[in-house]
């Protein structure tokens, strides 16, 4: 059983939903990311989405764009990101997926990527600009290494597309709560529960919800009907607010603890 499947099983037993935290690797530098990963899991994060920064993040709002820009002020390499994962695996068995855009992965070489990622302890991939129609090459490489491929569904997805995405996904299905880019928002989208219930008609995989989730209240609401809640920009905003201060990790940690608390139903 994959680490991701095992996590969802265990959480079900504890009547908890998964808290998935997104951070961008290298924002503002690799040493900080290394500390943050530890802080996130120690504060209750169940799973990590580690962002691979890209120069042209088409689906991201200002917060994650800025994170990528900060990360790319230093030399970027997939190897360095995999190095972070290796260190992470010395103390944590929390699932970790790489989240990003296709081009940096493609340039690394897809077979090499899947191989090296598994060796480092990565559990899967979510590639924002890679819909099922274009995913055959990466999916093949990922399958050989028995890793998971997570795909997105959106409020605009038709039944036909929900089926297509469900058929190719493994690990979980990521429902984008809004028609829009990533970014913390004041209020949550309507109709999420209806959409999740519809997705469940097509797949037995867990359904996670992300984009726009910014507070423990949001998390609590989503945890009522989804299997996982994904928070990205709101965590990065905490980082920004406390950047360079001695209490940064404790501030991020206490924010994440509140989010995790809200997943217990």
């Amino acid at each position: 059983m994959s680490r991701i499947a095992k996590m969802f099983d265990e959480l079900r037993g504890k009547k908890e939903k998964a808290l998935i935290a997104y951070i961008t690797a290298g924002d503002p530098d690799m040493a900080t990311t290394e500390q943050l990963l530890k802080c996130l899991v120690e504060s209750g994060t169940d799973m990590i989405e580690l962002g691979v920064p890209f120069s042209d993040p088409m689906a991201d709002g200002p917060t994650i764009q800025a994170a990528a820009q900060r990360a790319l002020e230093h030399p970027f390499s997939i190897q360095a990101i995999l190095g972070l994962v290796k260190k992470f695996r010395t103390y944590s068995q929390a699932p970790l997926i790489l989240f990003g855009y296709y081009n940096p992965l493609l340039q690394y070489g897809l077979e090499r990527l899947a191989h090296d990622a598994r060796e480092a302890g990565v559990d899967g991939f979510l590639v924002v600009d890679l819909p099922p129609e274009e995913a055959a090459d990466l999916k093949k490489a990922v399958d050989i290494q028995q890793l998971d491929m997570i795909f997105l569904l959106a409020p605009t997805s038709t039944d036909e597309r929900i089926r297509k995405v469900s058929d190719i996904s493994s690990g979980f299905v990521y429902y984008v709560s809004i028609t829009g880019v990533t970014g913390a928002r004041e209020s949550l989208a309507d109709m999420m529960e209806v959409s999740v219930n519809k997705i469940r008609q097509f797949t037995k995989l867990p359904v996670g919800i992300g984009f726009g989730v910014s507070s423990p209240e949001h998390v609590r609401e989503i945890a009522g009907f989804a299997d996982a809640v994904i928070v990205g920009s709101a965590i990065i905003k905490q980082l920004e607010a406390h950047a360079g201060m001695p209490d940064m990790l404790s501030k991020v940690g206490s924010f994440v603890k509140q989010l995790k608390e809200a997943t217990r139903i």
């Binding site: 042209d56 088409m58 690394y108 819909p131 605009t156």
Partner: protein, 395 residues
Amino acid sequence: MNYPDETGHYGPYGGRYVSETLMPALIELEQSYNLYRNDPEFKAELAYFLHEFVGRPNPLYFAQRLSEKLGIKVYLKREDLNHTGAHKINNTVGQILLARRMGKTRIIAETGAGQHGVATATVAARFGLECDVFMGAEDVKRQEPNVFRMKLLGARVIPVTSGSQTLKDAMNEAMRDWITYVRNTFYIIGSVAGPHPYPLIVRDFQRVIGDEAKSQILEKEGRLPDLVTACVGGGSNAMGLFYPFIGDKGVVMVGVEAAGHGIGNGPHSASLCAGRQGVLHGAKSYLLQDEQGQISTAHSIAPGLDYPGVGPEHSWLKDSGRAQYVSVTDDEALAAFHELCLTEGIIPALESSHAVAYVMKAAATLKKDSIVIINLSGRGDKDIHIVAEKMDSEV
């Protein structure tokens, strides 16, 4: 084989590398386009606006003095004489008619130099649709007159301050807007780039350039040209000229990219000559990127060529050998700009000047009386400040 294939690919290139939110919109666009592309009413309406509003057909002009100097026969396809002064409007007229039929009420576009932005704002005004144009903040500064033209035409110009603050970032921001307002918004992409079906749609709306040129040259010379050439940034004016000649094996097709200060000498925009395969803005194509797949910042003296990618069909034409791609430096383009001003009384766009420069260089290698068609994709009034600066002069 006819490209693109059913999945929107040109050999290994093209496709749809976009987030899921946009997939249904692209499928809807493809279905609508397939419905209307052969619809007699749609075609008649497009023909009407191309004739009455754009001013087509434009001349295939024999450049007599330049021809005498070069010892070949040079014809200029006068896209500079279109309404708004460039080829861009051929496509925006087509796409806005499509948008209206699809019931979309809001138009967005990206623009680099501002030519596509102006062409989009123009048709949006003509049809009374709301229009937002995304433009890199750097370009907003460099292209002030076009920004003002867009505002006069009722469009909102939104400066983009992320990344390199140029065309690629404007396109990112337009995509982000489209992801957010996809239900009522039509995104008019300005080049043969972006996710399928855009490269196909833009090619189809621009092929009028090559269709006209072909019948005009047959009328004037009684035979097909030996060479057709055009500048390539994203590649829409080149694709428009080339496409009707693809099956004519005797016609050599040369796309001219912008080499900036010279390839190997700092940033440039020659994705096909000096880039590698990658994925940007929804399609696989040749790209300027670093070893790790981060996109490079492009440079050209011609703002409209300043883009690190290129339309996927050009990548395919390169690999298949059907078209050749060369590059021309800023200085060579500038020299060609002056040459055309002085020998033909035509002020060309700096973009188009790249194609003129290539022909000036290649003329010596061509047989005497070879027939060459250059796509004069736009007029150069917009560039006079750039040229004046190079001449240490003032406008």
